[in-house]
């Protein structure tokens, strides 16, 4: 098998106003079958996708936010969140859902999937990818 490529999914949209967030999540779940080195980036309004306390019952649409917590089962364990995007929207790290994964190589120890980075670190991480998919 050829060496795994570095795939980055960039999420810049809020979850329910458009289909982008759900589409991105579905592509990530499908793409996970290909065993690549996958990362997700949440910048701009994309940080709203992983806000805690989402409840869509009155809206009559599916609340897909719990699915981000399943990403670890799919081997997707690097979710980069931009600190400036949070701050610009009056959010802190505590306003986001806790998302963890179980590290198979470390006796299934639970580890955080969310990686908080500043804009410069985010830009550098983006520049190190083989493929960037934007939503």
């Amino acid at each position: 098998m050829s060496e795994a490529k570095k795939f980055l999914y960039v999420n810049r949209r809020a979850p329910y106003g458009t289909i982008y967030a759900l589409e991105s999540l579905e592509v990530v779940l499908i793409g996970a079958a290909f065993d690549q080195d996958v990362s997700l980036a949440f910048i701009d309004d994309g940080v709203f996708q992983i806000a805690k306390g989402q409840d869509t019952k009155s809206l009559g649409v599916k609340n897909f936010s719990p699915t981000y917590r399943a990403l670890g089962d799919y081997g997707v364990t690097k979710l980069y969140v931009e600190k400036e995007s949070l701050a610009e929207r009056g959010l802190t790290e505590d306003d986001l859902m806790p998302i963890i994964y179980e590290d198979e190589n470390d006796n299934f120890a639970e580890k955080p999937s969310l990686i908080f980075v500043d804009r410069a670190e985010m830009a550098k991480m983006m520049s190190e990818q083989d493929i960037v998919l934007s939503f």
Binding site: E26, A33, P66, T67, R69, D73
Partner: protein
Amino acid sequence: MAYEVNGTTVEHDEEGYLTDINEWNEAIALEIAKGQDLEMNEERWEVVNFLRNYYDEYQVAPAIRVLTKALAKTMGPEKGNNKYLYELFPYGPAKQACMIAGLPKPTGCI
């Protein structure tokens, strides 16, 4: 298209997956299983219930390799493997077990 169970009708899509997951109950599960020529024994219920719990927690039907890994972790390697699951659900655990569990077809399942 619909299943007829105890005088009520429950809509399904062209493949047999329930249109509305909230309409599921055990009687419907038995009816779907019958259509798949499967008898619902304890082992099959165990997988179906596991899938329902997974969906309830994460709002997604797990891909097959996610299912086997999760089963292996909670129920041991003798149940968390493809051979065991395909013996229970010969046409694919994703296809048959998810359908019986009332879940949508797993994302990425072909």
